[in-house]
Symmetry: C2
Subunit: 427 residues, 2 copies
């Protein structure tokens, strides 16, 4: 660590306090970004394989131009008429089946999920929420309460019931019947709520279970879970903050792997390429029912500048064909990692579609014992070789790859070569 | 209403649904902003006397330039090192007494208040919250529960206790002893919590009671309230989303009217001149205590672009002397409105320091009966004369004036002339 970095860390601790975290043993001091590249204060260039927020690439010129133009023209709020919020609502709802016809805007995934739960509770009259293990849905109180990754078990309120992540690599069910076996836990959770005298409001699911290790969801699970919840009077909320906007390549939204239509869909992070923009898309009847008891206003949500960012991101995804690109490069990356796995037994499993991958580091492929220490060393070794990614999962043994969507085969080649070298050195 | 406006409203209802509201009988379709001026699609120019979010003026060139430069350079998050978040934290904490030395960033006032309550609850071990009547603190579940302006009384949870707004115009105490009389209700509220077996976490107060009608707070009230809450083991949270950043002219923060130091201060709206940026400033010991049980990450909060906006806003406030300007123009506006009040008995009361004013419209100055219908007609008549403001208060009879801080004497003169004319026509 150089002296500038040490001084910055000291200043940071003094000003921001102990709740803030930094990545890496030797944190990076970044000053510029372009496409998949980040540059530090010394002019060193890093391949960004972690940041999904700059979805269409750091400082994409089309997004920069759209933002700049609107920032110098007008920024107000949704209590005056403006075209941008309507254009974005139209483009977004156009990405869903006809039932999901109404868009409401906020600034963060936490706010989008807050609104989803408020709508679900107002419309069902219930309060119960079903969530999966190791889920992360945001940082506000009501969302922290359902973020099982963060909240200690003894703090989880009565109205929140946790079901197992449908994990066929580490979970209790791994066979052909796993989807139904995992979905049965949703029925158990509904029964638990009933026993507690709590009416269900919703089940909320990150449809690729990114915090749960980006598991390979058994086909049919989401659909069955949604049907069980609806049969008990609850709603099904798809949290698309991580999977949305074409990242998985195969689909524009994560829930589309199954034949279901969620009641509410939330989205955030990549939506404005870094600009704080989020949305809750749902059915008209639910919004009408919610509006009878309350109103909703979000000062910055849906303002002309935020919506200009959202529109520009959709433009780029479509014009540059980034969803298909993610699928193609994702398959290419899979082939390369599979090839490395032949020589590196520490690669226990590779999961994920498109440009969101999990690589499980294990001590033994048979026992699947997590190799957390190796994952941590690899993350830091890759950072020294100027490739940025991170680890995740309950055991923190899973390498998380989630680059900007303009990540191309040449970048995959570079990663595969360096990853091979650091694996050789670290194992 | 012209056909374009009608078509836009129809499209809006179809896309955004029934939870969204529009200002005015004939809503405005704004396309451009500059300083205190807004322009509609027909090129008509409106004097903006309502929007406090574009704090230093619509599209202020210094803020536009700072935002544009950072947007085209880099936008990441707080898990990498960056100077902007440290510079902003340093500038912000520099606006407070030494005890308030730590800044944490988020995107909206709701999020800043969410974090404040999470900190307060973690540090005190309590859950009870004391709030004033007709308060608005945000739109997330935990903040909706304390936003007494919105939540129906029967929905208010057990751990929230409401105290009267210390209103010496309409409230139950109007004499010299009003501060102590109102503060005594805080002790009653603490007693109520105790009777319910609930430990207090915090009292939260918008220090100018903007939603409660922008009342003239009796000196000493905030200090006494804070002392009572602390004596019972709770914290005092100053919600500076409305009063902060010099708006009241006299002080940079609203709480400074009394000799007290809050435990936590929250801020939002004007902080980024429209960019979604908010902060929670507090003492190091509280953040340390909070961090022991949990961590906090906000994807967009404190990112380089948001902080560039925050820094630019502080630059302009300082360079253009906007706090002193607000004080001076505010006094000038007061003199003009007082003069109008001599001829217009419907003006019942004028309150507010700097560039945040409330004008109470009444049917009778003696009985102080609210004239809600007149306030509504005036708001719409002013909109027809292209001056934008709004009404507020429990009875919606209070004209709310809250222009960008670059509002000058010449704009005040224009308002006073038109206000006189619409008062003559409407009464």
């Amino acid at each position: 660590m150089n002296t500038d970095t040490a001084a910055l860390i000291e200043r940071r601790t003094a000003l921001l306090g102990s709740a803030y975290r930094l990545f890496y043993d030797d944190p990076v001091h970044l000053v510029r970004g372009e496409g998949v590249w980040l540059f530090d204060a010394d002019g060193q260039k890093y391949l960004d394989m972690y940041n999904n927020v700059p979805h269409v690439g750091h400082c994409h010129p089309h997004v920069v131009a759209a933002l700049t133009k609107q920032i110098e023209t007008l920024n107000t709020h949704t209590r005056y008429l403006h075209d941008n919020v309507l254009d974005l609502a139209e483009r977004l709802t156009g990405k869903f089946p006809a039932e999901l016809d109404t868009a409401m805007f906020s600034c963060t995934g936490s706010e989008a999920n807050e609104l989803a739960l408020r709508i679900a509770r107002a419309c069902t009259g219930g309060t119960g929420i079903i969530v999966t293990e190791s889920a992360y849905h945001g940082n506000t109180k009501a969302i922290y309460e359902i973020s099982t990754e963060d909240i200690p078990a003894h703090e989880v309120p009565d109205f929140v019931v946790t079901v197992p992540t449908p994990d066929i690599y580490r979970g209790q069910y791994r066979g052909d019947n796993a989807a139904a076996q995992y979905a049965a836990h949703v029925n158990d959770a509904l029964k638990t709520l009933q026993d507690r005298g709590i009416k269900p409001a919703a089940m909320i699911v990150d449809t690729i279970f990114a915090s749960g290790g980006l598991i390979a969801t058994p086909p049919g699970y989401l659909k069955m879970a949604a049907e069980f919840v609806r049969a008990a009077g609850g709603l099904f909320v798809a949290d698309e903050v991580q999977p949305g906007f074409g990242r998985t390549g195969r689909n524009f939204w994560g829930y589309e792997i199954d034949a279901l239509i969620p009641d509410i869909v939330t989205m955030g992070k990549p939506m404005g390429n870094g600009h704080p923009l989020a949305a809750t898309v749902t059915r008209r009847d639910l919004v009408d029912s919610f509006s009878q008891s309350t109103h909703y206003f979000n000062t910055f949500g849906g303002n002309p500048v935020s919506c200009a960012a959202g529109l520009a991101v959709l433009d780029v995804i479509e014009k540059e064909g980034l969803q298909d690109h993610a699928l193609e490069v994702g398959l290419y990356l899979n082939a390369g990692i599979d090839e490395l796995a032949l020589r590196h037994p520490a690669i226990g499993d590779l999961r994920g579609d498109g440009l969101f991958k999990s690589i499980e580091m294990v001590k033994d492929r048979e026992t699947r014992e997590p190799h957390s220490d190796l994952a941590l060393r690899l993350v830091n070794a890759l950072r020294e070789r100027r490739i940025l990614l991170s680890s995740s999962g309950v055991d923190n043994n899973i390498l998380k790859l989630r680059p900007p969507m303009v990540f191309a085969k040449e970048h995959a080649d570079h990663f595969l070569q360096v990853f091979d070298e650091v694996l050789v050195a670290a194992t």
